[in-house]
């Protein structure tokens, strides 16, 4: 019962433990690796604690200096080094390198944050298709999408938990994050940096379309926004 309740928290539209793309998948995997490592270390420490409580003197085969070196350096250093290298390799893979991704290069969009809404621009659509969508980001599924953020007022943070990590939207800066949705569908996004009284309602939706239909649906969405 307790584990069912606990595991119920792993799902839902904004769960980082239910990844739907490679960036979020890498983050979720790192989290699981760290959790499993932490549990293993906790069990080891509790077992040692139990041993010395139940059988005093059980660890006397190793000198005091030996315990300090083994427990203080020998155990944590390899674990921390392995975790660090793993995290650095994963982090480097997630960066928006110019070489692009599979399935025909990178799609570029801009996310402009302001209190308390998100406006999305599509600079690659070309002339005659200028326009924005409000609180809905349209992307093609299966392709890398570079989202460049900026802000018109205070600091916000762009976050689609099932697709990737967070990136701040800061006035005067234009950082980029690379996302990819493996399958078409709707993905919930939110502002992850407290930005004022309307922060709670500053959510948005990412709509991932089948690649063949992406441009057609995006143009229809832009036309719909214009008509409103």
């Amino acid at each position: 019962m307790a584990s069912t309740l606990a595991l119920a928290g792993c799902g839902g539209p904004v769960s980082t433990l239910d990844p739907a793309g490679p960036a979020a998948d890498a983050i979720a995997r790192l989290w699981w690796v760290m959790l499993i490592g932490a549990v293993a270390l906790f069990i080891l420490m509790m077992a040692l604690f139990g041993l010395v409580m139940l059988r005093p003197g059980a660890g006397s085969g190793l000198s005091r200096r030996g315990w300090i070196l083994a427990g203080g350096l020998g155990m944590p250093l390899p674990i921390l080094t392995a975790l660090l290298i793993y995290a650095l390799i994963q982090g480097e893979r997630l960066l928006p390198h110019p070489d692009g991704g599979p399935n025909g290069g990178v799609v570029r969009v801009e996310a402009v944050a302001r209190q308390f809404a998100w406006e999305f621009h599509y600079p690659e659509l070309g002339a005659g298709a200028a326009g924005t969508t409000l609180n809905v980001l349209h992307i093609p599924a299966g392709r890398a999408v570079d989202v460049t953020t900026r802000s018109d007022d205070v600091i916000h943070s762009f976050w689609v938990p099932r697709l990737g990590g967070k990136i701040d939207a800061t006035p005067g800066h234009s950082p980029t994050i690379r996302l990819r949705a493996d399958r078409p569908g709707l993905y919930a996004g939110l502002c992850a940096e407290y930005c004022g009284t309307g922060h709670r309602d500053m959510g948005f939706t990412v709509e991932a379309h089948p690649p063949a239909l992406y441009e057609q649906r995006l143009r229809a969405a832009l036309a719909g926004e214009e008509a409103q």
């Binding site: 080094t81 660090l84 650095l88 982090g91 480097e92 960066l95 928006p96 390198h97």
Partner: protein
């Protein structure tokens, strides 16, 4: 002839000297990386690297050199000493070695990681 005994405060300061150098390296490397990215130094190719990576590597090596000099100084100091001052100096020496290990562990990645993406 007896040598003048240095004031104990100096030995206490020596305990934090290694990690003070580490902290200085951290601030300088972080600041230089941000400034260099903004100024586009990473786009200036220089042989197999770029200007930003070379500047960061130079800062890293300078700090490493300063820490090794500190270790050398403390090793020379510890020999003629005795009592609590010798103990303080030994702590400072181990602290300096720990700072060198931390510097390598924390900053050596600047030779490999993308600085500005």
């Amino acid at each position: 002839m007896n040598r003048p005994v240095p004031h104990p405060t100096r030995h206490l300061l020596m305990i934090v000297a290694g990690f003070a150098l580490w902290a200085l390296a951290f601030v300088l490397l972080y600041g230089t990386q941000a400034t260099g990215c903004k100024a586009g130094w990473h786009l200036v190719e220089m042989g197999p690297a770029n200007l930003l990576r070379l500047v960061l590597a130079l800062l890293f090596l300078l700090h490493l050199g300063a820490m090794l000099a500190l270790v050398r100084y403390l090793r020379r100091q510890v020999v003629p000493m005795a009592g609590p001052v010798r103990f303080l100096n030994r702590v400072a020496l181990f602290s300096a070695w720990a700072a060198i290990a931390s510097t390598l562990f924390t900053f050596v990645w600047l030779f490999w990681l993308s600085p500005c993406q």
